[in-house]
């Protein structure tokens, strides 16, 4: 099994973090994994994306031409990456900030940003999206992600772990979009 995921949105949405949490969870499970950031002159408010490949075998290119899954968090990313979805792949879209029109693609959408605001922290939209992704693709176990969150958080910030875990859980519980 090899799963190629492109995660894209705007700087500040936690795009890189979403990818890192997913990649580290795969590492936790002993899988082969690569994480490749777009490392240009990215700034808050600009566009940001990263590529994650998770596999049971050694990984060739960390660069993804065609993705099995796209996680799209804003409109510019939708326009840029939707042509790069594999046949049979799924595109998960943050409908708070992007409105996908392509009917030929397998699109699953939820307003992750609005949902994050309701949870009390707009920044966790990324973790709701990750939860929803794991609901659709069993690439890694939710348990592994929760463990990684605990490891990654700064000491003394249990509040951050809690809100992120709540967000992940909210995503996992969403019905298939």
């Amino acid at each position: 099994m090899t799963e190629k995921i492109i995660i894209a949105g705007s700087g500040g949405q936690g795009i890189m973090l979403l990818g890192k949490v997913l990649a580290e969870s795969a590492m936790e499970e002993g899988k082969f994994v690569t994480w490749l950031p777009a490392y240009g002159a990215e700034v808050r408010g600009g566009t940001a994306h990263c590529m994650v490949v998770i596999s049971d075998d050694e990984i060739g290119s960390p660069y993804i031409d065609r993705a099995d899954t796209l996680i799209i968090m804003n409109k510019p990313s939708l326009n840029r990456f939707s042509p790069r979805l594999n046949k049979g792949g799924i595109m998960i879209v943050n409908s708070s900030l992007a409105d996908p029109k392509e009917s030929s693609l397998n699109i699953k959408k939820y307003p992750f940003t609005d949902m994050a605001i309701k949870l009390g922290n707009i920044k966790v939209a990324n973790m709701i999206a990750l939860g929803f992704y794991l609901n659709n693709r069993k690439t890694v176990k939710v348990k592994s992600v929760l463990k990684v969150m605990e490891k990654m958080a700064t000491e003394g910030r249990e509040d951050l772990i809690k809100i992120n875990q709540e967000a992940l859980d909210a995503g996992v519980k969403l019905k298939d979009g």
């Binding site: 890192k20 690569t34 290119s61």
Partner: protein, 348 residues
Amino acid sequence: MSGNEAIAEGAIRAGCCFYAGYPITPQNELIGYMSVHMPENKRIFIQAESEIAAINMVFGASAAGSRAMTSSSSPGISLKQEGISYIAGAQLPAVIVNIMRAGPGLGNIWPAQSDYFQATRGGGNGEYRCIVLAPSSVQESFDMMFSAFNLADKYRNPVIVLGDGMLGQMMEPVWLPVAGCRLPVAVKKPWALTGCKEREQNIVKSFYMHEGDLEKFNLLLQKKYAQIMDSEQRYEEIDTKDAKIILVAYGSMARIAKSAVKSLRAKGIKTGLIRPITLWPFPVKAFQQANRQTGEQANYLSIEMSYGQMVEDVRLAVCGKARVEFLGRSGGGVPTEEEIIKKVNSIK
């Protein structure tokens, strides 16, 4: 861990005592990691005022017997060439990491392999060689730093670790030996400038004024280079024994080539891969062996993130005994698996 961080951690564990550098993308995580962990381990970290200053600090630290290193990316490495030439001329060990970006000039920050000639042919003035190592994964980036420092000390010669932006920036799991940072490796350096109380004076120089002296010295260098070419060729080969087409690629490019070999084999096309790990000395032995095994029936395809540099060494290595084709992109473009497969199909 990213490739840049793995190189830095590897260097510290391999006993690097002195690091001087100047920031440049895409190798910033390397200098960033060093700035935190070198002082933590009571080693010297200096953010120099320029690349030129950094390489000359390495020159000095190495002359004093320290395991010394600098790192940069393509345009910064160009600035260091004078220093590298002096280090080679003074027969000093040093490790220089180049996380290549695309050029010429300021170019851009995307991955490329266009500094192959610069790294393998010397790069600065005068006739000298650097040992050039090319890791292809984050794990190998870590592991290779031990070889880099050991080879530098063994031959008293600069060693270049040649990576690219993709390798520097990507993260992969890395297995680190359990023991923490090791103490500096005790390598005897009787030639080092350590203060000459109670012994003869040591002189470190790359300047030979008297007629005939420099020629004598250069012949000594050539003898050393011949020994390195003979003993230090390193490479990985995959499925070459029965191959009709052997791909040749190094660094990040080799990973993509490896995927292409798998896909082509699955379709019944007999493909193999030679991945040079030392770019200088170029692993000529791998080609001689492959030619013997295939009865000189295999063709070669050199795949690079440049417009045909390593392919020249491939041609020299096969010595006219096989067809050598080329596929390359540069300026930030990376040949894809699809493009490789298409090219292979056009050759067979």
